[in-house]
Subunit: 653 residues, 2 copies
């Protein structure tokens, strides 16, 4: 069956672009993050956005586990969900073994599994903050305790680690955890009829179900989705019993149910509201449950959330979350470029949501968004050296503003070593390390080539596909499909939205341009099939819907899936005084030595003079100087001198 086909797919990534990032994860990101979590790195923890402060140079994440395991003494330190940094790191490490086996690392991760097992309570519970400092409050303030979120992240990591290494303990921990949750939550007498303030467990349980095939976990995920919002007072009621003032995270009691997607049942929610990461984690889990249970109401809710986000609430970089206050969505078409959030985790979560929607139905729009996240909104969260991270990914930034205007100081302009709330760094690591899973989807008798990441892949039944390209820099995509057993199957190729105006696709020399929902399907009948796809890699000027106030009268520059930005270091400050000539020349060139090798773009523009000190004067059409404006890929910004950056450009005509 198709599911087996998928499960057994063996993908070897050959893409230069992605190999660089994946080796970076192994060689730099994982060792660096491990040293940080062990408090062995000489780092500065950023006072990051949203007031997530932590007055320490230490993460303490491993230390917390050691204390919970009884190996060390002391108090818990950090956010109640600090454990998740370790779990997402472990998950990234597990994925890395598939392309870069590493005995030294595996020794560390095996020992880590032992430590986690030791930290776990006999009943399966594991959340070091509560175990160490507040055992009497377990499951008592779910609005902000993140307990199921925390365990959910372990479950994901445990499943991945088991799949990568066969380590039995790693999956046993996950099962014990899920059983603990299943025991404590539900509609039976003595159970908590509620859910976590931060969705994640739903997604985790579907992965555990896929691995174990134990329907109990799928049912539990379904229960959490159905229960959510049925009693909008649930969190408030728990808070009252727990002592209304005793916030675990200062101020969280003030957030409305809508912030937690619990103001009404999910299937009744019309728009994607509240904390952005919560929304997309919820959706990613919901898509899986909808598929596995064929639940049409949940599927409809998935579509509703998807359309609202993608059509009305997403930045051109894939960023989501229009306000720094609460890291949250605001309302349709409200997309300010500076007071926005665009959390790295939210883009990662959106990639999960897209991926899981593809598993339900093949439509090009899912891959389009996934591609947007992969080449823009997620990658921008990590520096090229793998050791610095953004939490917030603005589309417009200026070090002076960050330093001197507190209304906008949440958007830092240089990536930080680490954060007090360090959810993002390990999230981007696990996405990169698992990007091989995002290339193909298999369903019934169809293989979908969704992402243009060069690879060699072996499917079931002797099917082998080699995809070669130099994406995202060039648009020639070549496939060699081997079908030695001459199986009848369809091979679908997503034609990105940005290329549907111009592409050619030849199958053994015969053109096929028949688009169905953004996908061209090729019937594979021969033993060897050669497919040549040429995508439209013209540099495109993009504009936003006029309802987006903040982008009105501006353009952004895109080539293929990559969104470009201007930086002060390549241009003359202030960069907003350039006006791009939309009728002028625009060229691109690959610069091997720049930023690890990137395409850059040069456009003609007018640079307006800063000629006097008058603050206001009578208007006269500015006579600027014709010059050039240089662009680099958005994901690579802030890897050189600190300076201004913007995605949306003023225009001269």
């Amino acid at each position: 069956m198709s599911y087996q086909l998928k499960k057994n797919m063996k993908v070897q990534i050959t893409s230069d672009f992605w190999k660089r990032y994946r080796e970076l994860v192994v060689n730099e990101v994982l060792p660096y993050q491990w040293s940080v979590m062990n408090d062995e790195a000489d780092i500065k923890i950023a006072h990051e956005p949203g007031g997530n402060a932590q007055d320490s140079k230490n993460s303490h994440a491993i230390e917390n586990l050691k204390i919970a395991a009884g190996i060390k003494k002391g108090n818990h330190f950090g956010y109640p969900f600090q454990d998740t940094d370790v779990y997402k790191w472990l998950e990234a490490a597990a994925y890395s073994f598939s392309y870069h086996p590493n005995d030294d690392l595996k020794k560390i991760t095996d020992n880590l599994i032992d430590l986690i097992a030791d930290a776990q309570d006999n009943d399966g519970y594991l959340s070091t903050f509560f175990q160490i400092d507040a055992p009497e409050r377990k499951f008592k303030r779910l609005q902000q305790s993140h307990e199921l979120y925390t365990m959910g992240h372990y479950i994901e990591a445990g499943v991945a680690y088991y799949q990568a290494t066969g380590n039995q303990k790693s999956i046993d921990i996950a099962i014990k955890m899920a059983d603990c949750i299943d025991h404590n939550f539900g509609i039976d007498e003595g159970q908590i009829n509620g859910y976590d303030g931060h969705p994640e467990i739903e997604l985790a349980l579907t992965r555990l179900y896929e691995q174990t095939e134990n329907e109990k976990y799928l049912k539990l995920a379904h229960y959490f989705l159905n229960q959510r919002g049925k009693n909008p007072e649930f969190f408030e009621q728990q808070n009252i019993v727990d002592g209304i003032e005793n916030d675990l995270i200062d101020g969280m009691k003030y957030f409305e149910p809508k912030y937690y997607q619990s103001a009404e049942p999910i299937i009744d929610q019309k728009t994607a509201d509240g904390h952005a990461v919560r929304v997309v984690y919820l959706c990613a889990g919901m898509a899986n449950v909808a598929r596995m249970l064929n639940d049409m109401e949940l599927l409809e809710a998935c579509h509703r959330f998807w359309n609202d986000i993608v059509q009305k609430r997403m930045y051109i970089t894939g960023g989501i979350g229009s306000t720094n206050i609460g890291e949250a969505f605001t309302y349709d078409y409200d997309l300010p470029n500076d007071t926005m959030y665009g959390e790295t985790c939210a883009s990662v979560g959106m990639a999960f949501f897209a991926q899981n929607m593809k598993d339900i139905e093949f439509k090009g729009e899912y891959g389009d968004v996934l591609e947007k996240e992969l080449f823009n909104g997620t990658l921008s969260g990590m520096s090229l050296d793998g050791k610095h991270f953004f939490y917030v990914n603005p589309l417009e930034a200026d070090p002076d503003i960050t330093k001197n205007n507190p209304s906008r100081s949440h958007a830092i302009t240089q990536r930080a070593d680490w954060f007090g709330c360090a959810c993002c760094p390990s999230n981007v690591a696990r996405l990169i390390a698992s990007v091989d899973k995002y290339i193909y989807n298999v369903k019934d008798n169809t293989i979908l080539s969704d992402q243009f990441i060069a690879n060699k892949t072996i499917f079931n039944q002797g099917i082998k596909i080699e995809q070669s390209n130099n994406f995202p820099w060039t648009g020639d995509i070549n496939y060699k499909v081997e079908n030695e057993k001459n199986i009848d199957f369809k091979f679908g190729i997503r034609i990105p939205g940005w290329s549907q105006d111009k592409f050619t696709l030849n199958v053994n020399g015969v053109e096929n341009k028949n688009l169905v929902d953004g996908i061209v399907y090729v019937d594979i009948t021969d033993i060897n099939t050669k497919i040549e796809l040429k995508l439209n890699m013209d540099v495109k000027l993009m504009q936003a819907n006029p309802l987006v106030k903040y982008d009105f009268g501006k353009v952004s520059v895109q080539k293929g899936p990559v969104v470009f930005c201007t930086e002060e270091t390549d241009n003359e400050s202030p960069i907003w005084t350039y006006q791009l000539n939309t009728s002028g020349s625009i060229t691109s060139q690959f610069e091997r030595k720049l930023l690890g090798g990137v395409e850059t773009i040069t456009a003609t523009a007018i640079k307006n003079p800063i000629s006097d000190t008058t603050l206001y004067r009578e208007y006269n059409k500015i006579k600027g100087v014709e010059t050039e404006l240089k662009f680099i890929p958005y994901y690579a910004w802030a890897n050189r001198e600190n300076g201004q950056m913007q995605v949306w450009q003023n225009i001269s005509n």
Copy 2:
């Protein structure tokens, strides 16, 4: 002497524009505010910006005084400086008697003076919060206690009331207060060598000195100015003794000394930093002290603050304070139109600063800024019905944003009944009621006609000046100068910056265009002199310095001193999709029935269609529809349907 001349000037305002506002103060504003302060109004107190919340429908301001006086029992309610609402209201009432004697009101205010006297401690101290609820903390946490700010406001009111009515008690209270402060503050053993976190007392003491001619008060003001910032740790040290956690106003302990203009001596401060109202109150007092003591260092500081604010930190409406966080200045050229503050009080304080600088030296720029504040930034703080108020005066607003984007929700789009921190309503009232004092300045042998507010004024020595005009709607300004004793004097007329490109000034038929620092001086030698001034009332498109990122590529519309804006109610939503045609026609017309009678402006513009639901698409030059864009004066916005407003307009060419 010139000082006497000034003191004895009798100004009768004949301007239709200002008579309407001044009668509004008497007939609506004062009775309304009195009922609010007596908790007799059926109002809703707004949850206003900066988190200045107060969960009550009552002001309690009069009740606090009654409790302090021993007439009532209970606790203090409201901010520690709640008393100042009463004092500024009293000051406004005092001014109103000069143009609208009112026995009923005077009975109320005389009784109020009695109440205040009863509330005052024997040693002169008066701050009801501390008297009622925290007597042991008097003068112990000056960073946030506002005690000298509070007493300063009474001193200003007391002087004004004495001058208006001769009520001896009113000035005696002020003198007792000032003596109390003089006793407690200074460099002697046992005195507090410090100052208030919120400047105001400096200005008040100069007014008390002017009235009493007792140099002690001037010296005390000078001391406060000199001491400020000498020990940047002063507030922190007090806070530690008072108990670091015991904030009087939640969170104020976190603000840096710079916020309170106490990071370094004032004479060393390079830029106008911190809380905007504090800065301009400080400057208004400093200008008086510099003048009275001929202190060149303080004068230089005045110039430095003035230039930094006016040339680099002021909105075109006169608004100041570029961030809602702390109601504060940010840095040069940082003038966002939405996350800004532009507190009404800050514009009022800037008017004071300008007025007091004029008293030092005659330069047109002071009157230019004063005029800008009078016709824009201050008036916008009050509705046309006199019963609704803005705290924040943004240059761009949208009810959807206010409601749904918490990063910008501080800028409300409909004026509120009242505020928990109600500093602004009575401030605008006292400015309007005393606007007669802003028209002329007298110095040596020169009378300066600074503001074009039609009036008949009698000076000393038989000099009478009648100024007639229909300003700000038309630019014909006519003076009849009677000089029956044939005194030799100069009559200076400020030519506004916006008219210096085009004006005619005829003195008994002879043209004079000799500008000195923005002023034309006329030698008055005849007994009757007729002066005809024609100002340039062309509608002007204005642009900001390109360093102002947020206004780049935009224009605003100004006619005379009045800044105009577009509102959703006159145009089609969303208003940002209009692009004004800078080469098109632009006309103005007076609409007698609109908004109490205002000039409106109509400009040709392109309206861009909202045609599809695609969030991003390839750029193609928008083909909009040619149409008209209608403007109303900025000060009159938000007096009709709730809707979008903007001062800076997109342009089409």
